[in-house]
Subunit: 744 residues, 2 copies
């Protein structure tokens, strides 16, 4: 029964025992005397501790407060740190004043405090959808479907944040924790805000200055990790590497994904695939939604003999066409599933849609459950899963009063269920030396390396982009999937962002929408889809950098050097006009949440339905138009009117983008491909191109190559490019190589 240790707190025990002898129904007279004694006693026990820190890995510092739970996020994920990557980052010592960090355990709860400078900015705390700057927010981190407010309830409420001052903090607990990201003011703080008279002082603020991040974890101890910079991006890299580095998807995982409607049959799917072929739209993966199995919500996990009489033949036929099959599941077991009887004793006290809920922390579950998946799905060629319903809502998941046979609490299970299904399903593929790339609805701290992309049912396009930005601070991947649209314009705008995301996917499970569903923009959509395929060498190399170096392929502007905009001002609106509706004149934030970095050199500024132009903030240096190579600006705010067919994308001076020829499917294992190398701007540049077989885990044995694409000024002063050879013994997948100097 892991996860129980937390309910004792040695430092309090003697007092508590004493309390028990006295506190319950003492003679009335005794009580007052008691209060004083206890206050006195309390004051002894709650003096803030000074944590001691140990360097766990290069630039990664660890401390243990009180008695942590036996079960936590890192134990759920069970992924070793990528020390190779961490060692390459320059570490320069503990990044904060140790004395500024306080921790104590009171009433069996852990209180943490971290310092906050005046101009410091905070990012992270998981997959938020509306805010990038987290300073001033209060969050209760809780795995759940995103409910429209950044309050901590989200698909990946990762207890990690990064500071603009260049350090990161991770709290390793599988608990609902309360985060006060610079909101509380302490009476005795040297930085306590000065009181003001709201009646007469227009400098009065509803939220006075706060000099700390404070965290409450409802358990008697916790592990805390601190990550050095020096830059915020370095701190993010360290967190990602410490938690295993990003996943390296199979090449096909970065191709196009179409999820077909529920209850589709073998023939329906075949027809859809044929349509893609005939219309010349790229397709690498077909996702089957509810209906491939005989019963779902809860699930049998068995193919429906009516809709799929010959799954193995069906899958190999598709494979022959260069298309993989992904299966939707949720983990809850139907009485009609062969798994039911055997697993029944190892399931929760409560059901989900009347299906039993497997306790994924128990070996009695793991082997038979995933063994069945391997036998029935993976062995016959299934390429991966979409694991649904592991996030929320509360209304249909198990309640927090539920009990699990392992003794793990419902809360801990809620916080880690997504991690557990990712870890255990990915293991099937790993032991078969076959990469997978799937979808999951919940993750958490420690899950960086799992080959899964998060998604949900929320559908606000702008907020999808903000989530994409925040995914880069949380060690997760997020897809702004396109499902349906009211207009052709919206459809095209959504498809444009899908192409510049970790998974280029249409999820047509309910709508049956196809890329060409809006004929007015069919050609534009196709062009974008093809662009995704042409950029494959770039995408693949960027994911390799996520894997080996920890750099998120999609990330916020605030992680970009030379991006100074957006210092958060907590300014009070001085208009009293809105006192009726907003009596405290709530603070307003200035933040950039609608443009992002895609890989090393690309700045993407999506257009949203109804927009004809938009502002883009360019970091320092010259920036060039991705499509034309023209210079567009230099460390400034520009306004662009790209027209309908293009999504604004910009390349930094000297940026090199390796591309290839258009194709309907990504290249297969070991297959050679032609390289078309684009260079932008006037500067010399260098880019490292990653290659391996694209499908197996042989890269773990060293079967991969990094090749430098280099552009320098020749003697004639003109730019010229070279491509290094792979080290001896390393694979070479390059066919014809050509150069395009976009800004001559």
């Amino acid at each position: 029964m892991r996860g129980t240790g937390n309910y004792l707190n040695q430092s309090h025990q003697p007092i508590l025992l004493f309390l028990h002898m006295l506190l319950f129904n003492p003679p009335i007279g005794v009580r007052k005397m008691l209060i004083f004694f206890l206050c006195f006693n309390l004051s002894l026990t709650i003096n803030a501790q000074q944590p001691t820190w140990v360097e766990e890995a290069p630039g990664v510092w660890k401390t243990i407060i009180g008695k942590p739970d036996a079960f936590d996020l890192l134990k759920a994920a069970e992924v070793p740190a990528r020390l190779d990557g961490l060692e390459k980052l320059s570490a320069s010592g503990f990044p904060l004043e140790k004395t500024d960090i306080k921790a104590e355990v009171i009433h069996g709860q852990t209180h943490l405090r971290f310092p906050l400078e005046r101009e410091e900015q905070l990012f992270g705390f998981g997959l938020n959808f509306k805010t990038v700057h987290q300073r001033g927010n209060i969050l209760r981190l809780h795995v759940d479907h995103y409910g429209g407010r950044d309050n901590g309830r989200t698909h990946a409420p990762v207890p990690f944040y990064v500071s603009s001052l260049g350090y990161g903090v991770f709290i390793n607990a599988a608990r609902y924790m309360d985060i006060y990201a610079g909101t509380g003011s302490r009476r005795d703080s040297p930085n306590a805000p000065e009181p003001r008279d709201r009646n007469t002082d227009d400098q009065w603020s509803a939220r006075p200055y706060s000099d700390a991040v404070e965290v409450l974890i409802p358990t008697g101890g916790v592990e805390v990790y601190l990550f050095e910079g020096p830059t915020p991006l370095d701190a993010v890299r360290r967190y990602n590497l410490f938690t295993g580095g990003g996943p390296l998807p199979p090449r096909w995982g970065l191709g196009f994904v179409q999820r077909v409607p529920r209850l589709f049959s073998e023939e329906d799917v075949m027809q859809e695939v044929k349509d893609f072929e005939n219309r010349g739209f790229p397709l690498d993966v077909v996702g089957l939604e509810p209906g491939w199995q005989s019963k779902s919500y809860p699930n049998t996990f068995v193919w429906d003999p009516g809709r799929f009489p010959d799954p193995e033949g069906f899958i190999s036929t598709l494979k022959g066409k260069g298309v993989r099959v992904n299966l939707w599941v949720n983990p809850y077991i139907s009485p009609d599933s062969p798994l039911y009887e055997k697993l029944f004793p190892y399931t929760a006290s409560h059901t989900v849609w009347a299906g039993i809920v497997p306790d994924f922390t128990m070996d009695e579950v793991i082997a038979p459950y995933w063994g069945f998946f391997e036998k029935e799905h993976v062995k016959i060629g299934v390429s991966g899963y979409k694991v649904d319903e592991v996030d929320g809502y509360d209304q249909w998941l198990w309640p927090d009063v539920a009990k699990f046979p392992s003794g793990i609490s419902a809360e801990q299970m809620r916080q880690t269920y997504g991690l557990l299904v990712q870890k255990q399903s990915a293991a099937i593929f790993h032991r078969r030396n076959q990469r997978t790339f799937g979808l999951v609805r919940a993750s958490n701290g420690g899950g960086t390396s799992f080959p899964y992309v998060l998604y949900n049912d929320y559908y606000n396009h702008r907020d999808f982009i903000t989530a994409l930005i925040n995914s880069g601070y949380a060690g997760v991947l997020w897809t702004p999937e396109a499902r349906a649209s009211k207009t052709a314009e919206e459809w095209l705008r959504r498809m444009q962002t899908v192409v510049f995301s970790p998974m280029a996917m249409i999820n047509a499970w309910a709508s049956g929408t196809k890329p060409w569903s809006f004929p007015e923009v069919e050609e534009e959509v196709k062009a974008m889809a093809m662009l995704r395929m042409q950029m494959m060498p770039y995408w693949y190399s960027e994911f390799a950098k996520y894997h080996f170096e920890g750099t998120p392929p999609f990330r916020g502007m605030n992680l970009e050097t030379g991006f100074s905009f957006g210092t958060q001002k907590l300014t009070m609106s001085d208009s009293e006009a809105d006192l009726e509706t907003n009596p405290y004149a709530e603070v307003v934030k200035k933040e950039i949440k609608d443009q992002y970095m895609a890989g090393e050199s690309l700045l993407v500024a999506p257009m949203f339905e109804g927009e004809e132009e938009r502002k883009v903030i360019l970091p320092e240096g010259k920036w060039y138009d991705f499509y034309t190579g023209e210079m567009v600006g230099e460390g400034e705010e520009i306004t662009v009117r790209p027209g309908l067919s293009n999504i604004p994308v910009f390349v930094k001076d000297g940026g090199i983008i390796p591309m290839t020829t258009p194709s309907l499917h990504t290249s297969g294992a070991g297959e050679k491909y032609d390289l078309i190398i684009r260079h932008y701007g006037k500067k010399e540049g260098s880019y490292f191109l990653y290659d391996d077989d694209g499908e197996t885990f042989d890269y773990e044995k060293g079967d991969y190559s990094w090749r430098e694409l280099k552009v320098v000024h020749g003697e004639d002063g003109r730019l010229q490019g070279t491509v290094s050879h792979p080290e001896s013994g390393k694979p070479d997948y390059l066919g014809k190589i050509s150069w395009e100097f976009m800004s001559p």
Copy 2:
């Protein structure tokens, strides 16, 4: 240090100690063996307990689970039960199958389970604004400003619910508790829902049947109370009486209240009072908002010498005009307050708007703090307070990591702060034998008897009415205050509901709105205001019934006998059209949340801006129009078009409404008043009229009278009325008595 006992749980102690010896970093090999041992051990410790119940008061049953916190809601409120009232209710024994109630303490948290029948309905769980039926909801009870969702965060998250089967449940803990009001399905329940295949079975539901209310309290034990019926209203009465019965306001408290704009001066207020006089609008109380004191947010609690050079003179002048003064405060102390130095050591670790936060559980605070209020305000004639900012938001209240010198946790303080300020401020007036009636922003279980009405900054008119209904299930009072309006119609509609509420108030602190601010409807507004004054004998008697008998003066239709409508059906919308936005076709509820009972015989059905007609559901029996006496229907749904000037109000057959002559101020202590008794319908009837001096607590010594107003058929078959004499020695405040038979 009360509130610490909860962190031990004897039943677990041996195991936990054992765990400690083994669990933390055991030799790797041992771990697996350990898991099994612990699972086994767990299974022994978590078998559901069978609580034992003791009849604490007539029809009130109590059980103690585990080791409750030393500090809880009832200890915060410290109000004795009204045994006299409870003894008058017929008790018929424990209302549930004892074996259907389960309780256990796991991991230091208390799990509770109560049974739920198929057609059973649930009401309560505090001051909700959008829903009346709570079955199917999940709430985390947490004192806070209402944020627009019924999720448990509200001004009075009272852990009390009442069942349509005629019993009530109260959980006495000052904790954030999770309520699953019929949402979870247990694997081993005899009533477990049958699994369905969502792919093909249109009976599939996103929320399968649940047969229990389950509660998680994050502490090692709790007190639970069960209240007998036989009717749901009886269960509510018992809860109210057990927590002290409703407050008996001074008569003037039920008159008209105008809260003037912030920074108003003595002269400004005098002018406003004169305007009321000149225009002939009733006025009993003027409320001073921020600015009467020298500094606020945080507060000095000292009169501003510029705006109020002579507060005592000012107050007595107003008193001479029949107008009382109420003072806005929040509890947070400015360094410029005389209280600052002395109370500093007894305040929280965190400040609110840079003001120190008094620990109201400590005698070192209570005496000096409220003593100062008595000396500076009450002694010179202040009639009461509006205590603001004791609810939330999290953004400006103390965080849950804050520490209080008494050792009470920030969570417990948050849940009870509103109770403590009500109790302690009310005590000032009680010891002066002077009644008060004020406003407060937060309350909780146990606060029934405090003379305070809840309010907030939310301003949705419909939701205000739903809150008024829910207040009747929560032992609190709520005012749908009018602040401002965009149109004359909205203003009039809001004023009409204000008149049929516990406190007839305009809160113009920000807008400066006056009753006559919309000239188009000035006369209609005045007529409604005068109606409020004419109905004073009815309102006053109904509050007396709240006080002595526990019957909420404003309550939901579901508490009315003969109101059968609204059995909640959890039906799944079968339209799949909305799968994109609502992939689980969320359940829909059928409930009545826009009409309510006001006192014994009145049914109020407010009109909202833009409505010309509305539907009204009449309980069994004949119902009559309040204004005309005409019969409108009988146990049916009717549609009414009242026009702009009237709010639809209906009287049950035989209903008797004691009224008086119009006046601008309520009658003073001992003053006689004329009685105009209205009778509606054809039935004989009886009504008990309450009287006392209207200002002091002498009624506690028995100085009050109940007189029966009786209507019977005379020998000629015509209805005739009689008024009983007061018992000997009881006061008589009646002047001229006249009868109006409204439905001849």
